[in-house]
């Protein structure tokens, strides 16, 4: 009897300890970044461009990486969103139960399991193709090489869109399936066509889920490093026409390379070339704050949906 009690108690202890470790890891990581990074985060750090140097002074700030994260996220979401909504609409409103639909579902499942690094090298294979050179730039000055450079914000955004597509499809599909059938029937009974029913009734009713899908996709894009590393490159500055933030240079900025917060962290960590951990910590802190805000926004939208239902 005592043996059984000891066994049960030790099992419970194990479960509690693992839960507490999870909790501690989460807060530990955030606290660690806060302690190590808060000193370097100043307004100047946020608003100056980085400067490749070996000294910690004069290394500049993270304006270009933050702008890079913003550009990549925006291009990724803008490409992925219509794609995801269309696929989700097709799957939930039009698809019949046949082989093609089964294949489509399987393809999305397999795509969601493909590691980001594989999507990244797929991008390398695809976008170094000279016919797609307009997305980045052509390699010039090397004899006998007819290849595109294959690294730019546009290319990176497309890679990101492929990466988040399956997740966004799944979230959108759930949202569309959750719209009550009565809505569709009422619209169709009023004489609206199927297209009007979907665009004017079903999708607006599913908007909360679609916004959640956007936030989810943004979170994944912001946190990804592998795709940025291979499709945007390892330079921390913008390489387009300077000044990069000038509106007339927008195309040149998009067609050239730069960095995001994640590659900035990687390059400044002891694993990268910069080796300025204090800057890496500061940038990590900024990144985590963005992620926490996104998480909170997703939570808030879910909470508001629940309140409205009740």
């Amino acid at each position: 009897m005592i043996k059984i009690k000891i066994r049960d108690a030790s099992q419970q202890l194990f479960a509690w300890v693992s839960a507490l470790i999870t909790l501690a890891a989460c807060f530990g990581i955030i606290l660690f970044l806060l302690v190590k990074g808060h000193g370097a985060v100043t307004l100047e750090f946020l608003l100056t461009d980085p400067n490749p140097t070996f000294q910690a002074e004069g290394a500049g700030g993270i304006l270009a990486p933050m702008a890079g994260t913003f550009i990549v996220t925006l291009t990724g979401v803008v490409i992925a969103l219509p794609w995801a909504i269309a696929t989700a609409t097709y799957l939930s409103e039009y698809a019949k139960k046949n082989l093609a639909t089964a294949y489509l579902k399987l393809a999305i499942d397999v795509l969601s399991g493909v590691p980001t690094i594989v999507i990244a090298i797929f991008g390398v294979a695809l976008f170094t193709n000279p016919t797609l050179g307009f997305l980045s730039s052509m390699i010039e000055g090397v004899e006998g090489v007819n290849k595109a450079f294959g690294k730019s914000f546009l290319v990176c955004g497309i890679g990101m869109a492929i990466m988040v597509l399956p997740y966004m499809i799944k979230t959108c599909e759930e949202a569309i399936k959750a719209v009550p059938n009565a809505f569709r029937e009422a619209s169709l009974a009023l004489g609206a066509s199927k297209k009007i029913t979907i665009t004017d009734v079903v999708l607006p009713s599913a908007r909360r889920g679609i916004i959640t899908a956007i936030i989810l996709g943004m979170g994944r894009i912001i946190g990804d490093t592998a795709i940025v590393w291979l499709l945007l490159g390892g330079s921390i500055r913008m390489t387009g026409q300077q000044p990069w933030w000038h509106l007339s240079n927008w195309l040149s900025t998009l067609q050239n390379t730069g960095s995001t917060l994640t590659t900035y962290i990687f390059l400044n960590s002891p694993a990268g070339e910069g080796n300025k951990p204090e800057l890496a910590f500061a940038a990590s802190l900024v990144l985590v704050v963005i992620i926490v805000f996104l998480n909170a926004a997703a939570g808030l939208i879910g909470f508001m949906g629940k309140v409205k239902e009740e």
Binding site: A19, C26, Y103, L106, D109, A125, T225, S284
Partner: protein, 342 residues
């Protein structure tokens, strides 16, 4: 797939038998359906393109080395030779066994820690806690899942590596193994620890779903028989949820094998073959998993043979991960079928 029928678009009206009115709105509807279908089809084609492109790029390596790709291991030296080989005498032979072993050992090691801990945490979240603590745990899990891998890598680099090199290493040990590899804290063990924190939220999230899906009546029946709450959880709830948990474990395995950045930062970045003969040092071997190899050697990707070698790493990753996704799907459909029968 929908078809446009002539009658859908061009309909004779009731009023005149000779005049045919053009039903624009129906045409518009059909075009819209086509547009949606073609977008959906693009997504399905992308995965085929991924397979085709990566296989095509990796083909020269498979052609030159045959089965040696997965049975021999001399990656570092082969890369070095390939890098300095003249452009018209490229070396295409590569052996990736040590990378495959590196991937499998780190992923399995991380699963070995993360699965019990994740299921334990899920039990606490679903059955043993309520109110503020429960919400806290849920929020922490979500946040852990959302923290980017590069931050895990950075924290691992600054916390786990010094811990390992201070506690587990000494000069004697380092000298003893100098003929095999350099022991400096960057190791499989560091990779396992960092990776287990990365995949634990996945295991927790899917286990929570699986445990919540267990019908209430199971618990009530067990409790009514006089079995304690904890024994009910261990003997009734977890066995009923085990297929769902298994799906989570497979998903976590895929994530672990595909993880590139964090592992390339902590696991040592040199393709050594961990050997069980070294005893405990097995875990301290610096390894290079497949995904990290692509990141680590990407600087040399302009050499065609190295590019092909990295793409063959991609092929192996792709095959493993596709296999894992399909098995998740099979497990999930089995779960759904059983729940339908219940």
């Amino acid at each position: 797939m929908a078809k446009i029928f002539f009658e859908d678009v061009v309909k004779p009206t009731v009023f005149s038998k000779t005049k045919i009115s053009f039903n624009l709105s129906a045409l518009y509807d059909k075009l819209w359906e086509y547009a949606i279908f073609s977008l959906a089809a693009t997504g399905a084609i992308i995965i085929v393109l991924i397979f085709v492109f990566i296989f095509m790029k990796a083909w020269p390596v498979f052609q030159a080395s045959g089965l040696k790709v997965i049975t021999t291991s001399n990656f570092e030296e082969q890369i070095r030779h390939a890098y300095f080989a003249p452009l018209d005498e490229q070396l295409w032979e590569f052996g990736l066994l040590s990378l495959i072993v590196g991937s499998l050992t780190t992923a399995l090691g991380a699963l070995f820690i993360a699965v019990p801990a994740g299921v334990g945490t899920a039990v606490i979240i679903c059955e043993m806690s309520s109110g503020l603590l429960k919400r806290f745990l849920e929020a922490a899990t979500r946040l852990l899942a959302a923290i980017p891998s590069v931050i895990y890598g950075l924290v691992g680099l600054m916390v786990v590596i010094p811990l390992i090199s201070d506690r587990l290493l000494n000069v004697e040990l380092q000298i003893k193994y100098l003929e095999y590899f350099q022991l400096n804290g960057y190791s499989m063990l560091a990779g396992i620890i960092v990776l287990s924190f990365m995949i634990v939220p996945l295991v927790i999230a899917l286990s929570v779903d699986a445990i919540n899906a267990v019908p209430r009546k199971y618990r009530e029946a067990s409790l009514a028989l006089g079995i304690t709450k904890w024994r009910t959880i261990i003997k009734v709830v977890i066995p009923a949820a085990k297929s769902g948990i298994l799906a989570g474990v497979i998903l976590a395995a895929g994530r672990g094998i595909g993880e590139a950045i964090a592992l390339s930062m902590v696991s040592g970045a040199s393709a050594n073959m961990p050997s069980l003969r070294h005893g405990f040092v097995f875990f301290l071997t610096p390894v290079l998993p497949l995904a990290s190899a692509i990141i680590n050697k990407s600087q040399a990707i302009s050499v065609p043979s190295i590019e092909a070698a990295l793409f063959s790493c991609g092929v192996i990753l792709l095959v493993i991960c596709a296999f894992l996704s399909i098995s998740t799907r099979i497990v999930e459909s089995a779960v759904r079928r059983r729940q339908g029968l219940d």
